[in-house]
């Protein structure tokens, strides 16, 4: 049986269900955003790992080569000379189906005869006859699909699938469909096109090369023997290492998403704090009575905790459900960004792991408990003699507001110090959290100050009712303060993120203007905006150079370079003195950089230098095809193309070191009179049967900015979610506050205020609250933006951004605050205005 004392408290939320409901929504949304981000990240990562893992099959080790891959003759030598039978060659590529352009198919070029030990599902030996594997060898352009993928694409064996591979549209003849109902082959065949390695070579223009060789080794001794056999330029790694270094690329991205999601949680915390504070304030009479008749402080505290925890648990559970739904929506955004910036991942299904759910649940409950701490203490400390009125509490509130503000200032200072001195990104975020909470604590005091300042003005222009509204904001500070603070934080976040994105955009556009100088750019079609490592067909550069109107050509060879940590982008390029001004230097003197660069040095991008603490004069290890080389760094340039980092070296040196004279893109400078768009057409007509991506300077810049904007789509969504949580918060606060003052409003009605005036009173009050939130959010948001731009972006991505002050962001944010507050006032105003004076007076 539940003790009567417990009943006295547990029944309280039932008497004010809307209030409990809003608190639950607050917790739920906070939890939902956190776990949604977690699940989306985790799903993308798992999808990638599952596909690499299933594609790696039972391989214990992998052999990889330079930018071009491994010469196929090495594979023969591995088999015939080294006797490594447990080896399987592989070519991976990507295709897009013409009917579903958003669907990326992974082309897996395999040797079916080598597969039995690695990926039994794809092997010739030891599999059912009907899998059609051997047809891969005998029918041109033949492929095998998994049943699920085939169904999704609507193809059956014997039919052609129209795809775009390396920019060329071509049919794939589906010769068989593999049953992938069960087991590991299910992940293996997910959006995978199996084809013979010879076909893959042809499609992906990889003649003479393979991407990697999977091997199965049983002992360190075998590993050592194989290692000795490997020629320079071919390295041994493990599937796990490769997958790890790839997924590590997204670490910063994930951390930032997590941090943004935590922000929603912080706003959610304000909500539960708010609700519980209300519920304590509303219950002061009751709590006082209980204390009088001998209920101890400890018992009161336990009661409040139980009630708060109940709300927290329900909110958390609801949040878990919501989060799973939300994750589904966010997944597409997360996956698109990863595809745009990092690596190809096909993920359509969320993976609901136990860890994200547990993390969300623990976070929701812990955050709620933290938020509950103060109201609980407050409740426990309710003096028994408070069978008096509430005003005493409000007086007390007004008294302690300056102290809270002082504490808040301390929080801001601590936050700033932690942020600047903190050794890692998590310290930066902790600092930001302190700063945010500190600002929130200063808000009630600022509110009082602003209201005092406003009062004469309000009375003068708005009459008595406006004056009342101003006074009410102050006298109900115990409730209004928190609501204003929550709204302020949401608005500040809006400002901060807005400023950061704007700064980013301005910086990148400036940078693009500096670096993208050529009139026309030619590259091989790549699946992703940032993956320009597909080689151009031989001879394209020479033929373009011969076209009329060409002044000169700048040649590039881009490739992903494996390092001991995450891969970096390696760009080999022509640099003449005319190109010097396309570089902006973060470190190094151009007079010394260029001679060194021409001689034996490399230059690296700022993110790479920051992440690995590299400076001019340090060396960087390049794992070249002709051996490992420690190369001096001559300069560090600003780069906003990729946070993974860029290494640049002269093209001729690249060709020597990597035994590779292929090119991936060209920058073409044309004579002043030549129209770039016309030249683009000229290039296209010169190569009618070659898949080339030809873009004018303007088009390339537009594409780059477009990708940038896409990257921030998820940021904007999260920011919106935080605002929604804050809106729910202020709605909850206002509703609670206004409905509780029924008596007072009844009295006002009784003494002659008409409903319209009540509307006016309430909406003036709420818009004042919104205005305060908006005003305070301006400096706070700016400070947060500075922190994001100069500390967090720098630490996590390694970018130095120019701060871009954009007044419209402030105006927008302030308007958001006022509109949110006014909207939140509508429901209580509507209810209150409908209440007849008599009923209002009878209340309580």
């Amino acid at each position: 049986m539940i003790p009567i004392l417990w009943k006295s408290t547990l029944r309280w939320p039932l008497r004010r269900p809307w209030q409990a409901l809003l608190a639950i929504i607050g917790v739920a949304m906070g939890v939902a955003v956190v776990i949604a981000i977690d699940i989306a990240n985790e799903s993308a990562r798992r999808a990638f790992l599952a596909s690499t893992e299933s594609i790696s099959g039972k391989a214990t080790d992998q052999l990889i080569g330079g930018p071009e891959g491994i010469p196929e003759a090495f594979f023969v030598s591995l088999r015939r000379d080294a006797g490594i039978r447990m080896s399987a060659p592989l070519i991976e590529g990507y295709a897009i189906t013409t009917q579903q352009p958003t669907r990326t198919l992974t082309i897996l070029g395999i040797d079916p005869f080598s597969e039995v030990a690695f990926r039994p599902a794809m092997s010739v030996a030891g599999t059912p006859l009907q899998n059609g594997m051997a047809a891969l060898l005998t029918q041109p352009d033949s492929v095998i699909l998994g049943a699920k993928t085939a169904a999704a694409l609507g193809v059956v064996p014997g039919r052609d699938l129209l795809v775009r591979v390396s920019g060329i549209e071509r049919p794939m003849r589906v010769v068989a469909v593999l049953n992938d109902d069960a087991g590991s082959s299910s992940a293996l065949l997910n959006d995978v096109v199996l084809t013979d390695i010879g076909t893959a070579q042809r499609w992906l223009q990889r003649d003479g090369f393979i991407d990697r060789i999977d091997v199965i080794l049983h002992s360190e001794a075998e590993r050592a023997i194989l290692r000795d056999f490997l020629p320079t330029g071919i390295r041994m790694t493990t599937p796990a290492q490769r997958a790890q270094s790839t997924t590590d690329m997204t670490a910063s991205f994930e951390i930032n998403l997590n941090a943004l999601s935590l922000l929603a949680m912080v706003v959610g915390m304000f909500l539960i704090y708010n609700t519980m504070t209300f519920s304590v304030v509303q219950r002061r009479q009751l709590l006082g009575t209980l204390r009088c008749i001998g209920v101890s402080q400890r018992e009161v505290a336990v009661l409040m905790l139980v009630e708060g925890s109940a709300i927290a648990i329900i909110g958390t559970v609801v949040g878990l459900g919501l989060g799973i739904g939300l994750a589904q929506g966010l997944l597409a955004l997360v996956a698109r960004t990863i595809n745009d910036i990092y690596f190809v991942v096909n993920v359509t299904q969320i993976h609901i792991g136990l860890i994200p759910l547990l993390k969300g649940a623990v976070l929701g409950i812990v955050a709620s408990c933290v938020a509950l701490a103060i109201p609980t203490l407050e409740a426990a400390r309710t003096p028994p003699r408070t069978v008096l009125r509430r005003s005493s509490y409000e007086e007390q509130m007004t008294r302690i507001v300056p102290y809270i503000a002082a504490l808040g200032l301390l929080g801001i200072v601590v936050g700033g110090v932690v942020m600047w001195l903190g050794p890692s990104i998590w310290f930066s975020y902790a600092g930001l959290l302190f700063l945010t909470l500190g600002a929130a604590m200063v808000t009630p005091w600022t509110t009082v100050m602003l209201m005092h300042a406003l009062r004469p003005l309000a009375v003068r222009f708005g009459g008595l009712i406006a004056g009342m509204a101003v006074r009410d904001v102050i006298t109900s500070l115990s409730r209004t303060g928190v609501a204003i603070a929550a709204l302020m934080i949401a608005v500040a976040v809006t400002i901060a993120v807005g400023l950061m994105v704007a700064s980013f955009r301005v910086t990148v556009v400036d940078w693009l203007t500096t670096t993208i100088r050529a009139d026309v750019f030619v590259s091989a079609p790549a699946l992703n905006a940032n993956r320009l490592d597909t080689a151009l067909p031989a001879g394209v550069a020479d033929r373009i150079a011969d076209l009329p109107g060409v002044v000169r050509i700048r040649r590039y060879r881009s490739s992903m370079l494996p390092t001991d940590r995450t891969p970096v982008l390696q760009i080999a390029l022509d640099v003449t003195s005319a190109d010097y001004e396309t570089f902006l230097w973060a470190e190094g003197n151009p007079d010394q950089i260029w001679p060194a660069f021409a001689n034996d040095a490399i230059i690296i991008s700022e993110p790479l230098a920051l992440k690995r603490d590299l400076h001019v004069g340090d060396t960087f290890l390049l794992q070249t095809t002709t051996g490992d080389r420690l190369v001096p760094i001559a300069g560090i340039f600003y780069d906003y193309g990729t946070e993974l980092g860029v290494v640049m070296l002269p093209l001729d040196r690249y060709a020597r070191w990597y035994a590779d004279d292929s090119l991936t893109s060209l920058g073409v400078f044309v004579t002043p009179g030549t129209d770039p768009e016309a030249f683009v057409e000229a290039v296209r007509t010169t190569f009618p049967n070659v898949a080339l991506l030809v873009r004018s300077n303007a088009a390339l810049r537009a594409t780059s900015v477009e990708v940038l904007d896409r990257t921030f789509a998820i940021t904007n969504v999260l920011q919106l979610l935080a605002t929604i949580v804050a809106f729910v918060g202020i709605l909850a606060a206002l509703t609670a506050m206004q409905l509780e003052r029924m008596r007072e409003f009844g009295m006002l009605r009784a003494i002659g205020l008409d409903p319209r005036q009540l509307w006016q009173l309430i909406l003036t009050e709420t818009s004042l609250m919104g205005a305060v939130a908006g005003i305070v959010a301006v400096p706070v948001g700016t400070a947060m933006a500075l922190a994001l731009i100069y500390v967090i972006n720098r630490i996590s991505f390694g970018w130095t951004l120019q701060f871009a002050m954009q007044p419209e962001i402030y105006i927008q944010a302030a308007l958001t605050a006022v509109i949110a507050a006014v909207l939140a006032g509508i429901y209580p105003a509507w209810r209150i205005a409908r209440v007849s004076p008599a009923v209002a007076l009878r209340e309580e």
Binding site: R85, F113, P128, Q130, A135, L137, Q139, V175
Partner: protein
């Protein structure tokens, strides 16, 4: 000589060839997924368009004909042998390389070196009678990129690092080098006696239909010396091997469910080959038969009616649940020869893509009342997959 002597190798090749070529366009799940081929599946006919057929006797020329014949769809190099170490412990080995031409494509696509005109399959088994163990390994490769292949001069057939080869100056001597993890064989084979052209001077007719034939020769008795490695232990060995070579472009009848094939070296120097084709209805096919190369070098051809085969006992395969004869008794009436044939190891069933039993056997018997002894290889098919 009976025109059907080649048949015993053929079915294994068929299973393989069919596997490669007949599996064009089929939907998944049309049959229950089961990892191995049955003889019934092997009966289907592969495409042979674009290949020459064995229609008339040809002039054999060595060592050129040891090499590949890519104009014919199928070809194999088949080695089996019984070996002894210095202590008299007995071993058996089988090393087989099959080549199958892929259906010749009408349209020529730009070349990748991986694109191939043929696929190779290799089987390697080792039997250790003393320890009663049997090891079987299988490999496949495309011919492309020289991952597998054959050449005449100097003679070499290979699959990765597995090979059989002759040096240019001694084409009559062949060296088999096979290693696969814990088992390896490195032996040199010297032919004793002339090469036997089977059938009609090497044209081996399969049925009445013209072109349904193969070119076929054997080296039945090859002196073998070298070493065998099982686990960590390398063992010097000597013994006798049997080589069969055949190439053709033709199809088989569909009535047989299996074969029992015997290749026996008797101590008196004669080499005996017997085979029984078992029909679906359980009878012995009239095309069954055999041959004996007598001590004096003459060849005696045996018809089905000359031989009686009697299975003795039963061995239940724990791998496939197939029920194989445990031993055999064969009577060859014209020679008054009775032979009891017993495996050195009961379980010599190959757990590979095509399931069959092929292993070393011991032979005891009497010729005209005089005891004879011998050893050889026995192949039994169609027991594991008849359901």
């Amino acid at each position: 000589m009976n025109p059907h002597t080649h048949v015993r190798r053929a079915h294994i090749w068929w299973l393989f060839a069919v596997f490669l070529s007949a599996c064009g366009v089929q939907a998944a799940g049309s049959t229950a997924g089961q990892g191995y081929l049955t003889v019934a599946e092997g009966m289907a006919r592969p495409a042979t368009a674009g290949y020459l057929r064995a229609e008339q006797p040809r002039e054999f020329s060595f060592p050129a004909d040891h090499g590949p014949h890519p104009d014919y769809a199928v070809e194999w190099w088949y080695y089996t042998g019984n070996l002894r170490d210095t202590q008299g412990n007995r071993y058996g080995y089988q090393f087989t390389l099959f080549r199958t031409g892929l259906p010749r494509q009408s349209q020529q696509v730009p070349a990748s070196k991986w694109q191939s005109d043929a696929v190779y399959m290799a089987h390697f088994t080792v039997t250790d009678a003393t320890n009663q163990t049997f090891i079987a390994r299988e490999r496949f490769n495309r011919a492309g990129l020289d991952l597998a292949g054959a050449q005449a001069q100097p003679f070499q057939v290979w699959m990765d690092d597995w090979s059989v080869a002759s040096s240019a100056d001694n084409p009559g001597q062949m060296r088999i080098q096979v290693a696969d993890g814990d088992v390896a064989l490195d032996v040199t084979l010297d032919a004793r006696g002339p090469t036997v052209l089977q059938g009609d001077a090497g044209l081996s007719q399969k049925s009445a239909e013209a072109g349904n034939a193969s070119y076929y020769y054997s080296m039945p008795r090859m002196q073998t010396t070298g070493s065998l490695r099982i686990g960590e232990k390398t063992i010097p060995v000597t013994g006798l091997s049997w080589m069969d070579r055949e190439w053709s472009t033709s199809a088989l009848g569909t009535n047989q469910v299996g074969w029992d094939w015997f290749a026996l070296h008797l101590d008196d120097g004669s080499d005996i080959m017997l085979y029984q084709l078992r029909n679906r209805d359980g009878t012995t096919d009239p095309f069954s038969g055999g041959s004996v190369r007598n001590t004096d070098g003459t060849l005696t051809t045996l018809r089905a009616s000359d031989i009686s085969w009697e299975p003795k006992g039963e061995w239940l395969s724990p791998h496939t649940q197939g029920r194989y004869p445990a031993e055999w008794e064969a009577r060859i009436a014209p020679l008054e020869l009775t032979l009891a044939i017993a495996p050195l190891v009961a379980d010599q069933e190959l757990q590979v893509t095509v399931r069959y039993w092929e292993g070393a056997v011991d032979v005891r018997g009497t010729r005209r009342g005089v005891p004879v002894r011998g050893e050889g290889y026995l192949e039994m098919t169609g027991y594991a997959d008849v359901r």
